[in-house]
Amino acid sequence: MAEATGIKDILKPENLVYNKTKIMTDNVLSYCPGCGHGTAHRILAEIIGEEGLQSQTIGVSPVGCSVLLYNYLDIDWQEAAHGRAPAVATAIKRLLPDKFVFTYQGDGDLAAIGTAETIHSCNRGENILIIFINNGIYGMTGGQMAPTTISGMKTSTSPYGRDVKLMGNPLKITDIVATLPGTYYVTRQSVHTPANVRKTKKAMRKAVQYQKLNKGTCFIEIVSNCPSGWKMTPVLSNKWMEENMFPFYPLGDIKVPEEKSAQ
């Protein structure tokens, strides 16, 4: 019996357990091989689909490698100038309070040029979700050092590694926004293993549900890789990330809603 079951018998519609969500368009992603941006997009797309939010979602896309994000998820979009996504999202959410509004931003976008927008929208407690892809580098423009570049990390503008005495300390902006009264849920995750993908998906579902409560900003950092900027193979970049990024950017919830933490 078992021997008789061939691949053809398994490849039947009723046996389908995982397929690319319809929220993702058929456009080919512009990312380098193994880049976490694609995985992060898909998790977000799955959540939007599973929560039935396709027609109610407005995303604000950034400047950075994910600048073309609006081509990849079949929802409504607004492109923002570099770093300004939370300001644009603020306006959209205030004008259309029934919509689910999120931003998706890299670390150069969110923690360098857009630091003011990030901090003030979180401090005001805008009822948006901010998704922050931290790969510790300006991926799009050629792998320059970012505020998030960790100590000793080599980039095209810190070729001998970031020397914090000369170049300043890396910025944990997620920990900063967690201290602000306007943030409701703040977490740091990754998308490089199946277990981490599951956790990120769970965090995203929570954030989407918290959004409906209008109790403040939800903020999800995803510590991610940049194989091209880091000059590593995708598999090695993920290993390097575990060994070097996670000790400085530990994964897990940073701020959870009070009624939850009281339990």
Partner: protein, 74 residues
């Protein structure tokens, strides 16, 4: 005795050969092809299809979302 059997389909033309799926597969089902696709990447394929348990680990980590997973009890 019921046994779980899985199978994957890789959209070879869209695979970027990153190998992230291969190292995430708990059963050693996936290997990289010795030939390249039309983009020039050594694409992933189920080299040992009988080992697949349909856990979808590979599909979950594939940045390009090019893996479809099937699973059945036999």
């Amino acid at each position: 005795m019921a046994k779980i059997r899985g199978s994957i389909v890789v959209n070879i033309d869209r695979c970027k050969g990153c190998e992230v799926c291969m190292v995430s597969c708990p059963t050693g089902t996936i290997a990289m092809a010795k030939e390249v696709n039309h983009k020039g990447y050594y694409y992933a394929y189920p080299a040992n299809p009988d080992l697949c348990i349909g856990c979808a680990s590979c599909a979950m980590v594939c940045p390009d979302g090019v893996i479809t997973v099937y699973k059945t009890k036999i």
